[in-house]
């Protein structure tokens, strides 16, 4: 298992993608730190970048990685190793590289210019989103044989969670405006990891106190121990679910 993981990691590092991604993150973080003084503004700008970029890169990178290593994977499957180990080594390597890119890319400037609790939560959410979208991308990859098709599915996951879903929520809120909507919207947030990450982060910043009644309602929920526990549990489920689903398909897949 560890040997497999080691080779998978070597492979990624060799492709230089990891280096470029990390460099990109560092540049983004540095430029944001340079532009604004206020810590909460920095977190907000980083959040904006993160919610857009991280799912996209994670999804595309994970899919391409899966197909680039397909031959190696097939070779390994012919060896007396467990299918579970082959699959896990591949996805863990991807997750590891993506997480390191965020940790180094966003973390190094933070060490330089200072951080607070909200920025640490931002890092955790970034890693969470990487895991989720890497999982979804692997799921898309094992479901098809074609690389282009898999990338298409991964991208549609990304579009769905960062755009279509919110449009659907907005439409729902608009058409049911006469009803008390605080609790249903809360439930809807849990069904989308990108929204969940965004709300958890926003509630960390003190601006949420300024958002009127709805803001106060969400602050109340996400500020309480129950809310923190529930939201991190749901985030965790989102991280586990695609990976296990992909693994189930992978185990039975006929290559």
């Amino acid at each position: 298992m560890f040997k497999l993981l080691k080779y998978a990691l070597y492979d990624i590092v060799k492709s230089r993608f990891a280096l470029l991604y990390t460099l990109f993150m560092v540049l983004v973080a540095i430029s944001i730190y340079q532009v604004s003084e206020d810590m909460s503004k920095v977190s907000l700008s980083l959040l904006n970048i993160m919610l857009m970029i991280i799912p996209l890169i994670s999804a595309i990178f994970a899919t391409t990685h899966f197909f680039n290593n397909l031959e190696f994977t097939e070779l390994m499957l012919a060896q007396p190793v467990k299918r579970r180990d082959v699959f896990l080594s591949q996805i863990l390597a991807v997750i590891f590289v993506l997480s390191m890119a965020i940790l180094i890319g966003f973390g190094a400037p933070m060490l330089l210019w200072g951080a607070d609790a909200s920025v640490l939560i931002l890092l955790a959410i970034g890693i969470g989103l990487s895991v989720i979208f890497a999982g979804l991308a692997f799921l898309a990859s094992v479901l098809t044989r074609d690389k282009a098709k898999a990338i298409g599915i991964s991208l549609s996951f990304w579009i769905y969670f960062s755009l279509v879903y919110d449009g659907f929520v907005l439409y729902l809120i608009y058409s049911l405006a006469d009803y008390p909507l605080e609790k249903p919207t809360l439930a809807l947030v849990f069904l989308n990891p990108v929204d969940l990450g965004r709300i958890i982060m926003l509630m960390q910043l003190d601006i949420s106190a300024l958002m009127g009644y709805t803001g106060a309602f969400f602050q109340d929920f996400f500020g309480s121990a129950k809310g923190i526990l529930l939201s991190s549990a749901v985030m965790f489920i989102w991280m586990i679910l695609p990976v296990t689903a992909a693994m189930r398909v992978f185990k039975r897949k006929d290559f």
Binding site: D38, K41, L44, L47, N48, L51, M52, S162, L163, D166, G167, V169, L170, I173, Y174, A177, L181, E182, T185, L186, L188, V189, V194, D195, R198, I199, L202, I207, A209, L210, M211, G212, Y213, T214, G215, A216, F218
Partner: protein
């Protein structure tokens, strides 16, 4: 020679008067009420250090009452402590504590009726229901008093400085905390409030109605339950005040209802849920104010007209302006907006393209507050961008045609 004579005579009369006015010392254990009863008009009572358990101390003649190192007058939670109905009463240096807690008689630390030319200075009031309560009086000086109360709920306490049907008064340098309203004025005219610190009151920091021709200068209103609410008044001057940290669903830096012909100049609005909420306001000027880190800098209802907003700074607010209709009868000009993305080709420090301070999302949130959950999502950013390019839903006339490229340097001595 004639004038010299006149001067001499006046001086003589004055010194006669001061000769007549005796100074009476009230020692610990003696009764203040008795001393007041025995005193002649214009006498000075010096109350020595100690604790006096008295209430309903009634003053019906001109007197000066001075406390030496803050003698404590303890009302023992029964009724008012001082009741004044006279001219030229001056009260200074007392510590008044524990009035009754009743709405029946509006128990107060010091209560003035039908008085004139009176002053209340350098007193400390603690655990009073109403602090200083004035009705039907004029020419009052209320200066450097410290009022505090510790009620848990709004109905358990009265107003700090309460004026009803008063005029020509002066309220300066007082500190009020923990009361219902910090300063409450009703039917009060020609009154000036300067440099008061109004903090953590249960309802409003400043609350006035039907109080024309007043000015409020360099006061600080901080963390009050619902901020500041002022209504049904014309000709108000608010200058260099600070309104900050009034957070909550119905909390305002300042709520203006039916305020007309007024000037709001050089104020700082910081970290309020809503900086200014306006309803039914006309012909007022908002100039050189600074709005920073508010949820909504201004909520301008469609019932407002002919107001001018100029040379204000809008920095780091979630929403700059929101409104509830499509009709806009107000003017926005020469403001600085940090969200402005235009350019300045001719380098005259005014942006070449107009700025629309209302975003599509703020219109949506105004209609459906629950939509706030989508704030800062990719979708909302996208929609806002599209609306900026092709305005369709946001009011067309809410527009600043001359946005500034750099923020104004708004300085105040009030910190």
């Amino acid at each position: 020679m004639k004038t010299l004579n006149l001067l001499f005579v006046t001086f003589f009369i004055l010194s006669m008067a001061s000769l007549e006015a005796a100074t009476i010392r009230v020692k610990n254990g003696q009764s203040i009420q008795k001393a007041i009863n025995q005193a002649a008009d214009g006498d000075t009572l010096i109350i020595e250090k100690g604790t006096f358990a008295e209430n309903e101390i009634t003053i019906r003649k001109p007197l000066t009452i001075i406390g030496e190192s803050y003698p404590v007058i303890d009302g023992k939670e029964k009724g008012n402590v001082f009741l004044v109905a006279a001219e030229n009463v001056h009260i200074r240096g007392l510590k008044i504590i524990n009035t009754g807690m009743s709405n029946m008689d509006d128990s107060a630390g010091i209560k003035f009726f039908d008085s004139k030319n009176c002053s209340v200075e350098d007193n400390i009031l603690e655990e009073t229901y109403f602090g200083l309560h004035f009705s039907n009086s004029s020419k009052l000086t209320i200066k450097n008093n410290k009022l505090s109360s510790h009620a848990e709920r709004e109905y358990q306490t009265g107003n700090g400085i309460h004026l009803w049907k008063c005029r020509d008064s002066f309220i300066e340098g007082n500190t009020v905390s923990g009361h219902r309203d910090g300063i409450y004025l009703e039917f009060v005219t020609n009154t000036v409030s300067i440099g008061n610190m109004i903090e953590a009151n249960k309802r409003y920091g400043l609350h006035f109605m039907f109080s024309h021709d007043n000015s409020y200068i360099q006061n600080t209103f901080k963390k009050n339950g619902a901020g500041v609410a002022v209504m049904y008044t014309r000709n108000v001057l608010m200058k260099e005040n600070i309104f900050e940290e009034n957070e909550g669903a119905s909390s305002y830096g300042i709520l203006l209802k039916d305020i007309t012909d007024s000037e709001i100049v050089g104020n700082i609005f910081r970290k309020n849920t809503i900086g200014i909420y306006m309803e039914g306001c006309s012909r007022s000027t908002f100039k050189s104010n600074s709005f920073t880190q508010n949820g909504w800098a201004i909520k301008l209802m469609a019932s407002c007209d002919q107001n001018t907003f100029e040379e204000n700074n809008f920095i780091a607010n979630t929403f700059d302006i929101s409104t509830n209709g499509t009709v806009v009868l107000n003017t926005l000009q020469h403001n600085y907006w940090d969200k402005y993305e235009g350019y300045d080709l001719d380098k005259n420090r005014t942006g070449d393209i107009p700025y629309r301070p209302i975003s599509l999302f703020s219109v949506i949130v105004e209609k459906i507050p629950a939509a706030m959950i989508l704030w800062r999502s990719f979708l909302v950013t996208l929609l806002d961008r599209m609306e900026k390019v092709l305005p369709s839903i946001t009011p067309e006339n809410m527009i600043d045609n001359s946005p500034k490229m750099r923020p104004y340097d708004i300085r105040t001595t009030n910190t």
